[in-house]
């Protein structure tokens, strides 16, 4: 039998025997960022279409979660840095070729915007809210006047935030699993789906829940298509990508990916939503929670498995 034995003298921490430079912080951020992006996009979209009254949760309530999710995500990103005191260098440079750089700038725009949007709707949660200082009232008046512009920024930067998390990984051609342009749209779809699920979870209005269940169902369909398309792409590509796909087709990530992401995170919630739309009584929290869980697992599995896929030994 022909064999190849490779012995390497290198044993660098976090690099060998397989790369493990990124831990829970990165997938957690990718998940939270994607979910916040989904929530903000739906809020902006329905506001711009003038459907604020019908979709109250989507436009006014769910966005309260976005700044919280973003701040937790940013803290996770900060925790991941190893040369933390230099993090400001991210904002001393714009590097168009680096998705991480424009992701950092996107966060710089969308995080304050999400805070402003929440502040404009704070009386929906705390009816007695008082800003105390006159300049804060003036700011509120100013942003209320420019709410349409704010919504457009939220929609556009929300979409960028949702898709960049996937592009970030796909830019690493050294990791064959990540090196597919499907990852951007897949992560965007997964983020939008998690956003829609959050709205279903929070909403008490059956009409709104029904609308977002339909949206979620459509996005789940798109995600399933993208996942199949992604594996077709790997299997029709070079040897390293075929090997990357094999981790999911009989290899060590097979069970976790197909059970947690595809079955529990996509197929079962889709079936439950179909049954619900057909007036069966399904506990309303089950399918959104499964969708959010699947979205979370997708990021974790892709980030961890990607680091194991490689070109050399």
């Amino acid at each position: 039998m022909k064999e190849e034995i490779i012995v390497s003298g290198r044993m660098n921490s976090m690099i060998d025997p397989t790369l493990h430079i990124w831990h829970w912080q990165i997938p957690l951020y990718l998940f939270l960022g994607g979910m916040a992006a989904g929530i903000l996009c739906f809020a902006a979209l329905y506001y711009l279409r003038g459907r604020e009254k019908e979709y109250l949760t989507a436009v006014r309530v769910a966005p309260f979660l976005a700044p919280i999710l973003l701040v937790i995500g940013l803290l996770a990103l900060f925790a991941d840095l190893r040369h933390r005191m230099y993090f400001w260098q991210l904002y001393a440079n714009i590097r168009m070729q680096s998705p991480m750089s424009w992701g950092a700038w996107t966060l710089m725009v969308i995080t304050p915007v999400s805070f402003i949007w929440s502040a404009l709707h704070i009386r929906d949660i705390f009816p007695e809210w008082n800003w105390r200082y006159k300049w804060l009232f003036n700011l509120e008046v100013f942003f209320n006047r420019h709410k349409t512009a704010l919504a457009w920024i939220m929609l556009i930067f929300g979409l960028i935030l949702g898709i960049y998390t996937g592009i970030l990984l796909s830019a690493f051609n050294a990791r064959p699993l990540w090196n597919t342009s499907i990852l951007g749209p897949l992560f965007l779809a997964s983020g939008l789906s998690a956003g829609a699920a959050t709205i279903i979870f929070l909403s008490k209005d059956p009409a709104e829940r029904k609308q977002f269940a339909k949206i979620d169902l459509a996005i789940i369909g798109i995600e399933l298509f993208l996942i199949i398309h992604m594996f077709m792409g790997y299997l029709a590509s070079s040897q390293v990508q075929i090997e990357a796909a094999r981790m999911f087709l009989g290899g060590e990530y097979t069970a976790s990916f197909w059970i947690f992401v595809v079955i529990l995170g996509l197929i079962i919630p889709a079936l439950l939503e179909i049954l619900e739309l057909r007036k069966y009584h399904i506990p309303a929290v089950v399918s959104p929670l499964l969708v959010i869980f699947g979205s979370f697992m997708l990021r974790f599995i892709i980030v961890y498995a990607g680091q194991m896929s490689r070109y050399l030994y």
Binding site: E4, D80, L81, H83, N93, S98
Partner: protein, 177 residues
């Protein structure tokens, strides 16, 4: 100017002197290395073949680490050498994930560290530490644009390869085979 290195896989005995010289010259923290030895044995017993390679950063012409770096800490300097500026590095690990050769590592001080082709020695007209100490003289270094440099001469004479050229990085570490 285009610096490059060639390693003779037929002359190398895998003594790791290059590794130790680099660790001493560049004060590489204990347990880490900027260059390393790889031994590949293949074939069917008893017909076996062994290739020994002294590997390090490939100082790629199209370096994915430079492309992915969000702050510009990873950059090209004169002669196409790829370096990290510690005071600009945030330690995000993007360059580490982007390197098909896994040639970079997180320095315990926080920033990312890697082979510099001993840029500080080249400036003084000396060879990189690994080249200078090699007991079998199997490492060649120099400017590819200079036809008389050691590396240009040996690459003209000998059959050679690079590692995973299909990764699209245009690596500048050649292996004589």
């Amino acid at each position: 100017m285009r610096y490059a290195m060639a390693a003779d896989t037929l002359k190398c005995v895998g003594c790791s002197d290059c590794v130790v010289a680099c660790q001493a010259e560049n004060k590489v923290p204990i347990g880490y290395c900027r260059d390393w030895i790889v031994e590949v044995t293949d074939g069917t017993y008893p017909v076996l073949e062994m290739e020994i390679r002294s590997e390090r950063c490939n100082h790629c012409v199209n370096a994915p680490c430079v492309r992915c770096c969000p702050t510009g800490a990873s950059r090209y300097i004169e002669g196409g050498i790829v370096v990290v500026v510690p005071d600009k590095c945030i330690g995000c690990g993007a360059c580490i994930a982007s390197c098909p050769y896994d040639a970079r590592y997180p320095h315990p001080a926080g920033y990312v560290d890697k082979c510099t082709f001993c840029a500080h020695r080249i400036k003084k007209g000396m060879d990189p530490a690994c080249v200078a100490v090699c007991p079998t003289k199997c490492l060649y270094f120099g400017d590819l644009h200079d036809p008389n440099s050691d590396v240009s001469q040996v690459l003209r004479k000998r059959k050679h390869k690079t590692l995973v050229p299909e990764a699209g990085t245009d690596p500048q570490l050649y292996f004589l085979i």
